[in-house]
């Protein structure tokens, strides 16, 4: 029994348990915050749970949000792997969404697959731009991706969707914002009646499995990790580090682009006039809580997706729907300070003395 415990809580799993503890603590703090503001926190959390898991409808909403977060989270995770901090998932997502909306308007054979592919290519292009700037011009990717986000937002929202790609309105009484609708053949098929759960969620899980395989079981994945651990050392041992960085950023962008396509092809069925996402930025939180691994990121994405889907119902007890972001922010903060949970984990491990002398466990290297 002690062996099992020691294995379960082995230092290699500290990241996992740290993230888990951080989530629980973040929820706990949020609960206390709601209660302290005079709201009925217990009813609120019950509403939150039922809004995330209570029946096929809510489960579908959780799946929609989780699928998008899985992909943006993976986008940030892949960039982490090659040692880059991609803040630009939002911009890449926007280009992907626009590409999906434009390609999906034409009723081509295989429209759905083509739209997804187009979204991946568009996102990859925007990601590659930051990678190229990094290796050729030495522009720090944090700066370039942040700025590229704004360029994408203003180009797409301020000009393309409002101007050349806007749907033609019909008369002064009908207000349509956004692009022409996507043809029904490009919609992600819904899987159950009474729920908006569509092909997006299984697709995102499949992509997550593929990314896991790529990063941990292939030569290319090894090269990327080597570059991420130390670019100069990797280059010295014959790994083409510049190429790896560009590849990593391209894949990172492609994943974010596909996330945008899921929103367009799954629920919106056009590029809407007001496209409020934030999923690209949330991808950073998901990746951090997920410990920079594909599996952890997927798990974190599902948790945050459920939280977001359920948080809408907190309004029934008078809590602002931004609550989900509060919890998410707290979780990231707590994950970023893993030492908080070290004593707890050491005790669970059953060898309190070993923990004190153990070397600090490396965590994510953003």
């Amino acid at each position: 029994m002690p062996e099992l415990r020691a294995r379960l809580f082995s230092p290699a799993r500290d990241t996992l348990w740290g993230a888990f503890a951080a989530l629980i603590l973040a929820l706990l703090i949020s609960f206390v915050a709601i209660a302290a503001s005079g709201r009925d926190a217990a009813t609120g959390f019950a509403d939150l749970l039922s809004g995330a898991f209570g029946g096929p409808g809510p489960l579908g909403e959780t799946a929609i949000k989780s699928a998008v977060l899985v992909l943006t989270g993976l986008s940030v995770t892949v960039a982490f792997t090659v040692g880059l901090f991609n803040i630009g998932a939002e911009g890449q997502l926007i280009w992907g969404a626009l590409a999906a909306a434009v390609i999906g308007q034409r009723a081509l054979p295989g429209a759905m697959a083509l739209s997804l592919l187009g979204a991946a290519v568009a996102g990859a292009g925007w990601g590659l731009l930051a990678g190229w700037l990094k290796v050729r011009r030495g522009v720090h990717e944090v700066i370039s991706t942040i700025l590229l986000n704004w360029i994408a937002i203003h180009l797409v929202h301020g000009w393309l969707v409002a101007g050349p790609l806007a749907a033609a309105g019909s008369g002064a009484m009908v207000s349509i914002a956004g692009t022409e609708p996507v043809s029904a053949s490009a919609w992600l098929p819904r899987l159950f009646a009474g729920s908006r759960l569509d092909l997006g969620f299984p697709l995102a899980l499949a992509v997550a499995a593929a990314v896991w395989f790529l990063l941990t079981r292939t030569v290319r994945g090894f090269e990327w990790r080597a570059v991420g651990a130390g670019r100069d050392a990797a280059r010295a041992s014959g790994i083409p580090s510049s190429r790896c960085i560009c590849e990593g950023m391209a894949l990172s962008g492609a994943l974010a682009g596909m996330a945008g396509a899921l929103l367009i092809l799954g629920t919106e069925h056009k590029y809407p006039g007001v496209f409020r996402t934030g999923y690209g930025f949330d991808g950073i939180a998901v990746a951090l809580v997920g410990g920079g691994t594909a599996l952890g990121t997927t798990a974190a994405a599902v948790v945050f997706g459920a939280l977001r889907a359920g948080a809408t119902r907190l309004q029934l007890v008078g809590v602002h729907p931004s609550f989900a972001e509060l919890t998410q922010g707290l979780a990231v903060l707590l994950v970023a300070a893993p030492r908080i949970f070290q004593p707890l984990l050491a005790r669970l491990r059953g060898r309190p003395s070993a923990a004190a002398s153990a070397p600090p466990v490396p965590t994510v290297q953003p």
Binding site: G38, A46, D47, L49, S50, G51, F53, G54, G55, G57, P58, E61, I64, K65, H157, G158, A162, G163, A166, A167, G169, S170, G171, A172, M173, V174, S175, I176, A177, P181, R196, L263, T267, E268, H269, P272, G273, V274, F275, R276, T277, G278, R308, A309, A311, T312, R313, Q315, L316, G318, P321, S322, A324
Partner: protein, 370 residues
Amino acid sequence: MKRIALCVCLIALLGCRKKQAPHTIGLAVDVGGRGDQSFNDGALRGLEIMAAGLRYTARGYERLGEAEYRALLPSDLREMPFPHLAIPEPLVLSGKAQEDYEPNLQLLVDQGAELVVAVGFMMEPATRAVSARNPNARFLLIDSPLLDASGRPTTAPNVRAVVFRENEGTFLAGVLAGTLTAGKIGFVGGMQLPLIRKFEAGFRAGVRQANPSAEVLVAYTGTFDDERKGIEVGHDLYQRGCDIVFHAAGLDGLGVIKAAQQAGKLVIGVDSDQSHVAPGNVLTSMVKHVDVAVYLAVKDVLEKKFSGGDIVLGLREGGVGLAPIGGMVPAPRREAIVLELEKLRAQIVGGQLTVPSTLDELAKFVAARP
């Protein structure tokens, strides 16, 4: 295993919990949310303050006294009776993202709301989907007719759609601005939509009516929920010499009003009477009585007179109009202007004057003979 089963039971229980008190009314707003002092707040006023007699505060709802209620009513409605209706605390949901609109409307139906109010044309697709799925639930959609799959207006027996002839109200605002300006007037729109173009067309026609030589500078912010953009665009227009700016830009418009305060210039508000935001700068507001539309729909539901279909509200129906002109216009001058505005209003109501609703119609517009 037992624990998992227990959890599943618990969640299943939560799913089919609690039904609301009878006559509960639900309302869902778009990502602009509460607090725009304009369109969304107009709809909320109709439901919370007028129908329910409640004021929303950080601590929850508070019941309003009669004097407070009178003070909170839009100035042009104070003479009319809007008695509170016997409804419990309303359910108000705001969407954090566009994909939340549909589940939010469905949630209000599931909570047993007898009327679900969808505020804003952006809720149209969600209203279409949820109303088709719940034929027994009743919906009020504001600012857009119900559309069919190919984007043409249609109707449904359980959906009342309310649209406004805003151009008639903005025409009067334009006449006022044209009369008072030294030569340059600004217009700030939100997103470039047919809806906002309608505001612009009416306003520019009004300016042309009063002052053909006045120039109107037009700018669009591209959003309805970014106050900073409003400040930037407002600053720009005032710096280019505009002395009066009219905004039809939702939350962005609050930024335009701030810019007017900083520049010490005049601004015309929209949708709700916005004079309380900057009493010294807001000349008037083009009010659009979303509040009355909501109130009447709630009343009809309670009196079992609710019917679907389209409703169009213009000057004749009292759906749009101008809020009282601010004290910055001296009294004798104001009397004359009010008289002139009343004459034009009568012409529009009587059908002798047709206000353009699109820029194409504006191009053909010839000012009416005084």
